[in-house]
Symmetry: C2
Subunit: 338 residues, 2 copies
DNA sequence: GCTTGGCACTCCCGCCCGGCGAGTGCCAGC
DNA sequence: GCTGGCACTCGCCGGGCGGGAGTGCCAAGC
């Protein structure tokens, strides 16, 4: 009985604090929410919640604010993801359907997510994992410099420059292209990679074939492609009321370190499961006062990338989770069709 | 005689203010620079400079700070671009030489420029202008969906998706590729564009050839490619001592509007000419308290893109101009070789 | 045993105020 | 035309002072 009311008090504190950004006191709480008890009772509950480490006071005789642990309980047990309105769904569909290619989908998603949540959005470019090799192209830019272009069934194009130890003429290039094509075309990335690694050395070409094959393997490895992320809505960092130099600057710096962002997005969760990392739960000092809401996307149940938002721990979790889930679903649907 | 000393006073004020970020008074000025006159004399000169609108006081009985007009005079007549040290040159060379492709050059440049200047760096991706068509590739992703890939001599690859009104089989695709290749391969972008526009309708293909040709023309038009810019060092906005919400937030927002940034970089200047736009000289309200230092880059004397930095009007102009010029030169040299 | 009203207490915040110091403008003298 | 002197003007800083919001505790009531 009291336990239930205490949780109701915690929920009310989280909701009020998120809405006003100010510590919330017992009187304001009973006024704004119909709790049906007096402020004194709520004060007792608050003392108990503080005892459990769910809320805290910035200083004596101020209102209470939730701790990370309090937010965690709120997210896990006190709230459900708030469905998007039909208007919001339509907006998502309209914006994302206008995309001309995969990169454009990613760029539109990141803008959209930033606008929907008023926070910083991060979208990972799709990894190529299970796609197949559509085409290999070699272009001689100079006698001893080749442009290697790899086209995958996912629609992604990877390009690399290779400097050769010996010059090649157009015929050599065509022959090499033929040999490589025969080995990799139509195969999945995984198959093509092993096939390339088993490839015998070409006849007296000074290691050219090996160099090109290595470049292809490198281009196919998830690594570089999955390293890429798009970031948007950095201006929303202004919502951190704190000092710029102390809290926002390190965040801005971290946002340019895409490797950090990838770790932040974490492991892909598919099927509408949204991951929430609150405050200090992550490994990065800079993000100790932020929360990350993320999920995976991809055709079917396969995850080919992650997306999410990062914002202050005092964020609207139900709304943010809904937006992240909705955008991920829509992007997944686009990948299904492609 | 007095005129000369007055200009020396202006130069000293700019240099001191840039170094300390604080209004500079007459006494500090004679102490730090060996002006050989008394503070009172300097005060008279300052009154004259203020009369001319070159400096101003934030409030009565404070030191002076330069106005935009004062910075303009300083940049145009009182300073020369400070050459980079050999160590800095080597650092630039080392970092940029490690790039694997054109996009990587741009991304490395933007990071480098941000680090060198401690300001926000902007680098435009090279436009394709005079490059020639190396290769056209068509890939059937689905019966009625084509991926069109355009490879240019500059090393740039453009890709587009085309939805067809009628399905095509592999033979149709190969035939279409052959026809298009014959028309555009080896031509410059300009030539290829006109050739495509004159192309006759394919035999009973339901407008497929026209659709693909149009896509190619679109991909070749400078527009989309030159729209792309890379931004780095946004964290350096912290150097604006001002309030976050009022001055930094609109800037951050503007930095995500790449169209705005392109206008900011302005018209390309080649041959080591660096453009400086100070404060309100530009059309954008958000950038009224910033200066933009930019220049063009490209092989030979041809400008294929711009790069620059944006920072507070109180910036180290000689050093910034030197860094911008040095990076542009090095990028140009890389394009020369490619 | 839980809830409630009352009450004293604590502490932040905004305000005013006075002293200090930096810097100026002006003036008379050189 | 330069210089030293001098009075004046402000912005900045620290201290002191209510006002107010919020708390914890206690004794009484259901």
């Amino acid at each position: 009985m009291q336990d239930e009311r205490r949780l109701a008090v915690l929920r009310a504190i989280v909701e009020d604090y998120v809405a006003t950004q100010e510590p919330v006191g017992s009187k304001a709480l009973v006024e704004r929410h119909g709790l049906g008890v007096s402020p004194a009772t709520v004060r007792n509950d608050m003392a108990a919640l503080e005892e459990e480490g769910l809320i805290t006071q910035p200083h004596t005789s101020a209102g209470r604010i939730p701790t990370d642990k309090g937010y965690r309980l709120f997210v896990d047990r006190l709230t459900t993801i708030k469905p998007m309105t039909p208007a919001e769904r339509r907006a998502i569909a309209t914006i994302l359907d206008g995309a001309v290619d995969l990169d454009d989908v990613v760029q539109r998603s990141v803008r959209l997510l930033a606008q929907l949540t008023h926070q910083v959005a991060i979208v990972q470019y799709p990894t190529l994992s299970r796609s197949t090799v559509r085409h290999v192209e070699l272009v001689a830019l100079a006698p001893a410099r080749l442009l290697v272009v790899l086209i995958l069934s996912s629609g992604r194009v990877e390009q690399r420059l290779v400097d050769l130890s010996v010059p090649m003429d157009d015929e050599d290039v065509a022959a090499l292209r033929g040999r490589l094509s025969a080995v990799v075309a139509g195969r999945t990335v995984a198959e093509a990679t092993s096939a390339l690694e088993l490839l015998e050395e070409g006849p007296g070409d000074g290691g050219v074939q090996a160099a090109v094959a290595e470049t292809l393997v490198d281009a196919m490895s998830d690594h570089r492609s999955s390293e890429r992320v798009a970031v948007g809505g950095a201006a929303n960092l202004a919502r951190f009321g704190d000092s710029f130099e102390l809290s926002v600057r390190p965040l801005l710096e971290a946002l340019e370190e895409h490797v950090v962002l990838l770790k932040l997005l974490g492991e892909a969760q598919t099927g509408g499961l949204v991951t929430v990392r609150i405050g200090h739960e992550g490994p990065y000092q800079e993000f100790a006062s932020t929360s990350v809401v993320s999920t995976g996307y991809g055709p079917g149940d396969e995850a080919v990338g992650n997306l999410g938002v990062v914002g202050p721990t005092r964020m609207d979790y139900p709304g943010t989770m809904a937006a992240v889930r909705a955008v991920a679903r829509y992007v997944s649907r686009i990948l299904d069709e492609a």
